[in-house]
Amino acid sequence: MSALGILPTVGVERTPPSVLRNTMTIAQRELREAVRSRWFLLYTLAFAVLGLAVSFVSASGSGGSGLSGFGRTTAGLVNIVLLVVPLMALTAGAASIASDRERGMLSYVFAQPVWRLEVLLGKYIGLAASLLASLSLGLGACAVILAWKGIAARPASIVWLTGLSFALALGMLSVGMLISALARKASVAVGTAIFVWLILVFVSDLALMAGTVALRLRIEELFLLSLLNPLQVFKMWTLHGVDATLDVLGPAGLYASEEYGARLHVMFGAFMLAWVVLPLSAAAAMLSRRSPL
């Protein structure tokens, strides 16, 4: 043994760790870092406070019914989710790879016995778990308040909303990670993510309305175009799940309910899945081709 206590046993060939093991190692580290970070605390707090405010105001109002049986509280929460969840997921995903690249950590991790896909999936799973925790805490707090106030909002609605919020978060996280894989700097990635959020939340609706008027879109075209926005898919799928009809969305909703009926679940699920899989696949392709420097 040397003075440093190192046994001269170099070069004993070992088996590389499995894909699952490496992925979970990275996921655990990512989850730990996310939970320690300020954004996680901030978003969870903001989400819970906004959700509680909506729950409280709704509970003080008509008593939880209305909107064709779709709880007023749940409708309020949908709007909160539409604003907060995409922002959380996009920025979390955007910061993940780009910040590692910026500080030289990405190339250091890639110099270890790992595949780049393992790093991407590990980061994705870790961040997804942190988002799920954040959503569960926020929406869970709202559910507790609703129960405490004796509101007859269906618990199934809250569970359905939480599940779809998580699906939306996964899709937005994929988009965020694609942005992160493309950007060289974390600041650029996060800025781009916020820009994408603004487009999805505000601009796309306006563009769709303008397009409908200017191009005289037919109702089916309007419906299909709206499916390209994951936020619209989330909104329609949530409403469809708790109410079966989409008449609160106007003519496009009525058309969708009549035309597709129960197949809407499959349709919405397929579009949401595409928003998860396609950007993440593109991020994997980018990461495997591009230099990590």
Partner: protein
């Protein structure tokens, strides 16, 4: 152990590495030597599979491009500077990278003992100095006792004391059957660690020479880099010039070309004039040419 065959790598239109071939047997130790932009770091990154290249690189018979994970399992890598996750604990970092290297329970304490970081297990990485971070990177590189160590200018960001300590540590670790490939522009590092020196120039491998021959060549043709406090630098230049030397000012001190048998002369002249020398190093002409302009402040530039 390491076979680099006709490697070419470009950044846009610039050939960073061009047609480089180099073979290292088990236990061999090769220093990559060359000016900035010569291709040292690029070649190391190709060996690690970080950059896309043409040609073929194998580590222990495993193709880096096709079986990168298995090939990198044989390697411990220490970069020039690493931006560890600041919030990570020191022991936590060791365990994390240990798991990535397939070690179920990396003994963080023993690993840190190896590199003189005993007692720092519970610190956050942000609490470590630059030298300590490099030691941590070395500890991580040594996890699983890899057959190959790849070091990329590992002392470049350290001060003189940290550099000396780190080099002493590397010297103790070398000669244990490991294959060592490292980039450096410090002759003392090369002389201590390398058996052979691969000289790179503009991305091409110019020559591979035994370390002894290379060190002798450098010694015949060396420059002293003296660290002297700014207010007395011009006075030092005057004194050395008056003695027939050709000192040149730069941002951190003076560069003085010296004959191999007269390396102590500048020290004697400056000591006689009570001008203290804070630190010194012997560098090559190529390195001196680089740092002569890199570190020179505006007011000192010609």
């Amino acid at each position: 152990m390491i076979r680099i065959e006709n490697i070419a790598m470009r950044f846009g239109k610039t050939a960073a590495v061009n047609g480089v071939s180099l073979h290292l047997d088990s236990g061999d130790s090769v220093a990559l030597w060359g000016a900035n932009g010569a291709g040292k770091t690029t070649l190391i990154r190709c060996v690690l599979g970080l950059l896309r290249y043409r040609g073929r690189i194998t580590l222990g018979g495993h193709d880096v491009r096709r079986h990168g994970k298995r090939a990198r399992l044989l390697v411990g890598y220490v970069p020039q500077e690493i931006g560890f996750y600041d919030d990570l604990g020191v022991a936590e970092a060791v365990r994390f990278f240990g798991r990535l290297k397939g070690l179920s329970h990396a003994d963080a304490g023993a690993t840190l003992d190896r590199v003189g970081l005993h007692g720092h297990e519970h610190k956050r990485i942000r609490e470590l100095s630059g030298g300590m971070k490099q030691r941590l990177a070395l500890a991580i590189a040594l996890l699983g006792d890899p057959a190959v160590l790849v070091l990329d200018e590992v002392t470049a960001s350290l001060d003189a004391v940290g550099r000396g300590e780190f080099l002493a540590l590397l010297e103790q670790l070398s000669g244990m059957g490991r294959t060592l490939l490292f980039a450096s522009h410090r002759i003392e590092e090369v002389a201590s660690l390398a058996k052979r020196v691969a000289v790179l120039e503009h991305g091409r491998l110019k020559e591979v020479v035994p370390c002894g021959d290379f060190a002798a060549r450098i010694a015949r043709n060396a420059v002293l880099h003296l660290s002297i406090a700014a207010p007395i630098r011009k006075r030092a230049v005057e004194l050395l010039s008056a003695e027939g030397l050709a000192p040149q000012l730069n941002g951190a001190g003076l560069l003085v070309p010296v004959a191999p048998e007269h390396k102590a002369v500048p020290f004697r002249i400056l000591a006689d004039a009570h001008i203290p020398v804070d630190d010194f190093e012997l560098v090559s002409h190529e390195h001196a040419a680089r740092i002569g302009t890199e570190r020179m402040p505006e007011e000192d530039r010609p």
